[in-house]
């Protein structure tokens, strides 16, 4: 899952600036669980460690047979691994979800308005809400997108935000993923698996369904085509079978019933995009692309890319094809712009953010830079342009030498860095070697935005399977589990 950005935080030391004990999703206090977890807890009490382990094996076999794997390429041969999937669901009560949902809708609405503004009149920059150079110098800002019509002003059509639950129990947004977020197939596969593992508990818990996601995604994509043609042809564009998220691309194409194309299947002629079929060329209206901006068109972006189609961007500019998400959406999930999202929400919607941000220090501001430099051993420092856990310093787990190295880098190019406090992610019960133990988790819900904004009532819960670890990346020992969002009436028993 390449686009899953890391949540790399580490255990705080016995530091007074962050004394908090992580919030636990199941256990309220010693001996008592949250009401929405009582049914699951009762069910677990009836199962022996062997029975649980057996269920875990059944689930792993399900993933293996379905080919829900990522490939590890070696010198001689390649092996396929499954992304570990934990069988114990993470449960979120209905009332809590309503708040998350409202917060996500508000946030995506504001970010799309921001993108529409940035790529047209740039009123928000005139009004000085955020520094002009911070936006226009961001590597993800695409000048090519300037003054281009995007239907419904929906630039980011598929968004997968990373939420974390803070020690006080409140959810906060860690990152907005507006480029090509992945992981939705794991959300759906985990659900398919957990229905088999805990059928009884699932039935009585009142879990909201997520299986309409492919249908909603197709509707969203079609709504971007406007009314030019009665039956718009939608395709999914994948970098190909060697991409680590290929399974997901094929999965979505299959469930939407649309072709899964690669760059080599596409032909651009007279600013129209076609795919090569057995019946000759067939025109395409909407491309749900799972290829990064840089690679979609060698004539406009990276010239050495062979993953996209030459001339695709011009066809887009001409209005003959829709690219979803629009190129250039990355500027709105830039790590420095992130710090301004509450201000952006205020500016466009005149509302306070429902979901808070994590406190973020912008090193471009001299006062904040000196604070960061003085607290390098406590903070997490991130390079603005980088993602996936690169270019990062985790203060409490770093050496003096690493801190000194970062101090130099910060002073040399302060605008390239931000810093955040080290935050304890919440923990949820997981099955570890037959025992139920708490592990740190985050939450990635998926939001769709076309003519309307829709949040699927479910999410991918990523798990740091190593004890004490706060890293939920699949590449670093992370796994995932199903997320049950309960209907409003259930799970709110007081």
């Amino acid at each position: 899952m390449e686009a899953i950005v890391s949540v790399k935080r580490d255990q705080p030391t016995a530091d007074i600036s962050n004394p908090a004990v992580p919030y636990d999703e199941m256990v309220k206090r010693a001996g008592a669980v949250h009401p929405h977890y009582t049914a699951l807890e009762a069910r677990l009490a009836t199962l022996s460690p062997e029975e649980l382990a057996e269920r875990q094996r059944t689930q792993e076999r399900f993933f293996l047979l379905q080919g829900i794997t990522f490939t590890v390429y070696g010198a001689e041969s390649s092996t396929e691994r499954i992304i570990p999937s934990d069988i114990l669901p993470r449960i979120i009560p209905g009332s809590e979800w309503s708040r998350i949902e409202a917060g996500l809708i508000q946030r995506l609405k504001a970010l799309n308005m921001f993108l529409a503004d940035i790529y047209s009149h740039q009123q928000i920059l005139m009004d000085g809400v955020l520094p002009r150079e911070l936006v226009l110098n961001a590597p993800s800002y695409r000048r090519e997108m300037q003054n281009l019509y995007v239907p419904h002003k929906a630039y980011a059509n598929v968004c997968g935000s990373d939420l974390i639950r803070q020690p006080n129990g409140e959810f906060a947004v860690l990152e907005d993923n507006l480029r090509v977020p992945s992981g939705v197939s794991y959300m759906l596969a985990n659900r398919e698996a957990s229905r088999r593992v805990f059928p009884g508990t699932f039935r009585s818990a009142g879990v909201r369904g997520i299986d309409r996601y492919p249908d909603l995604l197709l509707t969203t994509l079609k709504s971007m085509a406007g009314n030019w043609r009665p039956n718009p042809q939608v395709v999914v564009l994948t970098p190909g079978v060697y991409n680590s998220a290929y399974y997901e691309h094929a999965y979505l194409a299959r469930l939407m019933g649309v072709p899964l194309v690669e760059g080599r299947d596409l032909v651009v002629h007279d600013n129209f995009v076609y795919m090569r079929t057995t019946r000759g060329l067939r025109r395409i209206d909407v491309i749900y692309r799972r290829v990064d901006d840089d690679f979609i068109d060698p004539l406009t972006f990276r010239r050495d890319s062979s993953l996209g189609a030459a001339g695709l961007f011009n066809a887009y500019r001409a209005g003959n094809v829709m690219i979803c998400n629009a190129p250039g959406t990355g500027v709105a999930d830039d790590k420095a712009v992130y710090a301004y999202v509450p201000a952006i929400i205020k500016y466009y919607l005149n509302q306070d953010a429902i979901l808070p941000n994590i406190e973020t220090f912008l090193c471009r501001e001299p006062a904040q830079l000196s604070h960061v430099l003085a607290n390098l051993d406590k903070l997490v420092v991130k390079a603005v342009g980088a993602s996936g856990g690169y270019g990062m310093l985790v203060g409490p787990h770093s050496t003096k030498a690493q801190q000194a190295e970062f101090a130099d880098a910060l002073q040399a190019d302060p605008a390239n860095y931000i810093a955040q406090p080290t935050i304890q992610l919440s923990t949820a019960p997981c099955l570890i070697d037959g025992n139920v133990e708490p592990r740190h988790v985050d939450l990635r819900p998926f939001i769709l935005c076309g003519e309307k904004i829709v949040v699927t009532p479910g999410a991918l819960t990523r798990v740091a399977l190593r004890k004490g670890s706060l890293v939920v990346n699949s590449s670093q020992g992370g796994g995932s589990k199903d997320t049950w969002v309960l209907t409003e009436s259930k799970g709110d028993a007081k």
């Binding site: 379905q66 092996t79 094929a250």
Partner: protein
């Protein structure tokens, strides 16, 4: 309507799966020959190797090793492992086009072959290993038949299966009956049953010709039988009908290249005369059949997959 690349992949899944199944049978027959130290056994192993396209017949002295290599050698593009790996790689590329049930069957075979313990499993029970693989390949075809839509994609898959099968049986027959390579006439009962086993034809043959094993009947059966699914004639009928379906889907005229070639090939086998064939020699006829198969393969690409864009661009 489907992507040209997808059609191409489905076609190759069909070819690779068929090839793997055929190679499993050849391996199995070779292993069977190891139980018997007679001259006929060496002869059978040699035939199997030649039918695989391996001209190093000295391997026939060690049929067990040859069968192991043919089954699991990763470096050899013609091994069963390679065919399964290629079939599955193609299936992964068109994962959205084949049903989950079909995919699962192929994936299971691949996972077993790719398992580090595969060599051990082969040593523990080589015939069981091959038998299971063949059975799983049948399940794959059955799952496809029962769950996939029998539309254009299915026709491409079937086209791959039957073109490959016609070519494999054709090559086998050429090795056995072609006068170019024949050393001494096959008369040994063991050798003759082995030939039938290699093409999974023993029982169906017995039902038609009884236990009277005669080279002429075997050639007739494997080449010209109307109903046996591994006879070349049966294959050409399938090729012709699936090509007709594809041409219809694509909205091309029936006079287009591939369909004309397929019709001609079908007619060749339909109206072949065994006496005439024997008089002229089987080799010449088989060569025509194999050449026709290649011509169909090429014209298929020209018409549906690697066509020139200039003819197809909107005016």
């Amino acid at each position: 309507m489907m992507l040209a690349r997808v059609a191409d992949s489905l076609y190759w899944i069909g070819r690779y799966v068929e090839r793997a199944e055929h190679m499993c049978r050849l391996s199995d027959v070779m292993l069977n020959a190891t139980l018997d130290r007679s001259d006929a056994a060496t002869q059978v192993a040699r035939i199997a190797l030649l039918a695989v396209g391996d001209t190093n017949v000295s391997k026939a002295q060690a049929p067990y090793e040859a069968a192991l290599a043919l089954t699991l050698e990763r470096g050899d593009g013609g091994s069963i492992f390679s065919s399964i790996a290629h079939a599955r790689e193609n299936a992964r590329q068109v994962r959205d086009q084949i049903t989950t049930e079909t995919w699962e069957r192929l994936n299971i075979i691949y996972l077993r072959m790719n398992n580090p313990d595969a060599v051990k499993a082969f040593h523990d029970g080589s015939q069981v290993f091959l038998h299971d693989t063949i059975a799983d390949l049948h399940l794959f075809k059955g799952a496809g038949d029962a769950t996939m839509s029998h539309g254009e994609g299915w026709s491409f898959l079937q086209l791959g299966v039957h073109l490959e099968r016609a070519q494999l049986i054709g090559s086998l027959l050429d090795v056995v009956f072609g006068e170019r390579r024949r050393r001494k006439p096959l008369a040994d009962h063991f050798a003759l049953t082995s030939i039938l086993r290699m093409s999974c034809a023993l029982e169906p043959y017995l039902r038609v010709y009884t236990a009277e094993l005669q080279p002429r009947h075997i050639l007739n059966f494997l080449m010209l039988d109307e109903d046996f699914p591994r006879s070349i004639r049966f294959c050409t009928t399938q090729i012709e009908s699936h090509l007709a379906a594809i041409t219809r889907h694509a909205g091309l005229s029936a006079n287009a290249g591939p369909e004309r070639l397929a019709g001609r090939l079908k007619a060749r086998l339909h109206f072949a005369d065994m006496d005439e064939l024997e008089a002229q020699g089987a080799s010449a006829f088989l060569k025509t059949v194999l050449d026709d198969c290649w011509a169909i393969h090429r014209s298929l690409y020209d018409a549906f997959v690697a066509y020139s864009l200039e003819d197809r661009l909107p005016a």
